[in-house]
Symmetry: C2
């Protein structure tokens, strides 16, 4: 068989069953091979950033990689921003980039570019397949690299002549190591800190935000041994009624500092040291309070939940986790605001929903409004590269066809990868998209205000204004085959959200908020 | 003043008057500085690929750089594909990438990434500004690098603390060298080849496709000294009635080989050696016929027109250029096809139009149909990274507000950067977009067919199909504030195209073609 078929057969053998694709000429043999490898489902995306964001959403929910099939350097470039988010999420993901035939590269044809340089910026593993005989093994290594805990982006560059040449064969899946057990002395060291009686915070991240980790951590909180916080932007957090709740560290450094104030011990459980998202003049980059000692209990690739359970067994052997009590906001009345929109979503969020949250400033009230809703998963913007939400929802819905996916999107962010809606329609994915339309890059308005001495005039204000012209998201959705409606009041949003959840397939609701000021 | 203001003041001093922007927090001081540097017009784009494509279109038409203002590594990543096209076009363009404050980088905040690696893939010049005192000089060098013939992408990485710190000052514009005169011996060597009487082709590219170069080359053709061809994807070609016409080298290698067949001498005048766009099994990468000698008359950064004039003075001193005769197709009747759509455009193309051509397979008939139209400029997809056309039109219209801009777009390509329409509406640019909607990646259908032995089944065919669901471009345009209509017959297209040209501001026409097969 040719290299293309061997790569696809190897990937399916490694558990890859979805391929989000925006292919070109150099990938045509891979595309053709999809017909002889039906175990791999090709999903067409109209832009590479949709394909990579979808593969991220798939990997976060399935716990195994999807493939993203991209065309040469420019195709990879278009997919990089969401690969950056996937890298920060620790998502298992295999990127397959078709390249020119190996002998063609020295001719510097128009699409020639430095693919390795681009891939290296987002990938933990990069290889250029050198010959058909090795292509299967290369693909197996890519899948294994992607699955190495906590998960990562592995990029396989596949020259067209390796794809089309015969003499290849599939390789068996490689062994993938489990998350590393945390040595007893690290658990003991964290236990000693907690036993000091000094104020302590456990910062949870990665696998620590799934139910087993949350329950173990909750025992420690119940025993009064530590306060719990979640990293600011988790890849996937299980939450809702019956699951111990954990507050997220705030995005703004001043609020995050207040959350961490007074802590003498900061225990990292799958999370990284907290740092300010951006730097500001005169403000420290690190959010660790002065005089606070940092203890690494478990890194992202470790057995975070096991370490937390071990720590709880040592420090709070008799404590029980504190599950979140069920509870929903009442359905609100009145003109729509970000606050009552959140209440509507909290009131109606279905059990086992997957929420892809890129609501940004409009999402301020979402955490509170949904805290006691039935159990659900919450996926956030891990790397800060906006344009993630609609693609992420695509992949999550492909990975979990029996669950409702809710994409909560800021208007500005939605426009980066708006063509994801077309894939929602094409695959008839059960995704309800709510666009929080305040017609402004509101977060930048906030940042402009924070500049302090620098006064922002009309030229600057104009660069964060999305109202000239206003964007009609219902028209955009309809143009791509997604039924859409607009809500200007809370009851309208409730009625439309209910309808969208009840009906199969994708829907979009434009939540017409007051203009951000 | 702070570094941000010094950079902007320096750029305006270097002739930069437009800044296509999709900024974020790390660029807020640059955004704020726009109010004190009103000579630099900020133009908001909803996606970075629109900003970079617009800067490309601006630079191609203005002959001086626009700036593209981008946010950190992911923002640059989103702009890379159109920077790739700009690099291939030799467009003068200054990319300003805001980065984290220098002291913040080691904390590996969520948006941290390897900006230099990304920038290096598309830029001829990259620098990270190290301190406010040098920021002005860095900006001046960036502008000079962008203007070095033939023009190129210069990327200035500006850490936030360099932007916000005081102690900076503008730097004067640096000297920019003119295109290099071609030494007499190179002209003489080409002249000897043409005087041999053996079949010769002059391949024109870059500045050789502007009127002075075309007229000089035409004298050689008129004297029977050589046939003329244009590079396949020119950045900007002047053409139409009164200007010598030159056929473009075909995209498909088999047709290009036929055009070059029999040549014993190939004279490169601002063009690169012709190579196959993609590699195919058993096909050569080089398009230079066996036994054909290649002579470099002028490289892209040389005085191409001067070299051609010198060559004509030597070989064809008495010959006169052969201007294209005026002539337009008759307005056709019947259901719309790619062929009669081209006739409509040729029949109505206004004088001094700027055509941004990303019509791909649907554009096959455009060259013939517009050859005798009034003089106009034709801008093509130089680097093969689709998603260029609508952004390119944005920048061309900003650079030339008194000219009609026509964006001829394939449906598949349009979707990569569709949000450019919003900037068309916001700036009320005089752009008429025609979407050639055949509901297929038709070029990939052709490539699948060319695979030969490999038979493409339903899974493969599905990955090039844009009909499920069909995309309603009139709805997309209306959603972003651009008046739109759909044409199903040639007379409908003619009426709508006329109307769009007569009315100021942007318009979009969806040309509903028969489905590509």
């Amino acid at each position: 068989m040719n290299g293309a078929e061997a790569v696809l057969r190897t990937l399916t053998g490694c558990g890859v069953s979805a391929c989000f694709a925006n292919p070109g000429t150099s990938e045509m043999h891979l595309v053709a091979a999809l017909d002889v490898v039906p175990e791999l489902r090709g999903v067409l995306c109209l832009f590479e950033g949709v394909a990579t964001g979808a593969a991220d959403g798939y990997g976060r929910m399935a716990g195994r990689p999807a493939a993203a099939l991209l065309h040469l350097g420019p195709g990879l470039a278009n997919g990089l921003a969401n690969l950056h988010n996937a890298r920060r999420a620790g998502t298992p993901l295999v990127t397959v980039v078709g390249d020119h035939a190996s002998y063609h590269k020295r001719f510097d044809a128009p699409l020639e570019s430095d693919i390795e340089a681009l891939a290296g910026a987002v990938s933990g593993w990069v290889r250029r397949a050198a010959r058909p005989a090795d292509a299967g093994a290369d693909a197996a290594e890519a899948a294994a690299a992607a699955m190495t805990p906590p998960g990562g982006v592995a990029t396989l560059i596949l020259p067209a002549d390796v794809s089309w040449s015969e003499g290849a064969e599939p390789a068996p899946a490689g062994a993938v190591r489990a998350p590393a057990p945390v040595p007893g002395e690290m658990v003991g060291s964290a236990a000693a800190a907690l036993r000091s009686g000094e104020p302590s915070v456990i910062l949870l991240g990665g696998a620590g935000l799934r139910r087993p980790g949350l329950e173990a951590a909750s025992r420690l909180a119940a025993a009064g041994a530590a306060r719990l916080l979640s990293e600011t932007f988790p890849a996937r957090c299980e939450r809702g009624a019956g699951i111990p709740a954990v507050e997220r560290l705030a995005y703004l450094a001043e609020f995050a500092s207040a959350q961490l104030a007074g802590a003498r011990h900061l225990i990292l459980a799958g999370a990284r040291r907290p740092v300010s998202f951006f730097a500001y003049p005169g403000q420290p980059s690190s959010l660790v309070p002065a005089g606070c000692q940092v203890h690494v209990l478990a890194e992202a690739g470790d057995d975070v939940a096991g370490a937390l359970a071990g720590l709880a067994d040592l420090v709070a052997p008799d404590a029980r986790p504190l599950p979140q009590q069920p509870g929903r906001p009442a359905l609100p009345d009145g003109d729509l605001t970000a606050e009552n929109a959140a209440a509507v979503i909290g009131a109606l969020l279905p059990e086992a929903a997957i929420v892809c949250d890129e609501a940004n400033t409009s999402g301020l009230w979402l955490a509170g409004a949904t805290a006691g809703a039935p159990p659900h998963d919450w996926l956030t913007l891990t790397g800060g590269a906006i344009g993630q939400g609609l693609p992420l929802a695509t992949g999550a819905a492909m990975a979990c066809p029996d669950r409702s996916v809710i994409a909560l999107e800021a208007d500005g962010s939605a426009m980066y990868t708006i063509s994801a809606l077309w894939t929602h329609a094409r695959e008839q994915l059960d995704i309800t998209t709510v666009i929080f339309s305040n017609r402004r890059y509101a977060i930048l308005g906030m940042e402009l205000d924070r500049l302090g001495a620098v006064s922002a005039g009309p030229a600057a204000r104009s660069l964060i204004d999305l109202s000239r012209p206003g964007i009609d998201f219902t028209a955009l959705a309809a143009g791509m085959g997604v039924p859409a409606s607009r809500a200007a009041t809370a009851p309208e949003l409730a009625a439309q959200f209910r309808h969208a959840l009840a009906e199969p397939g994708p829907h979009l609701i434009e939540a017409a908020l007051p203009p951000a000021v």
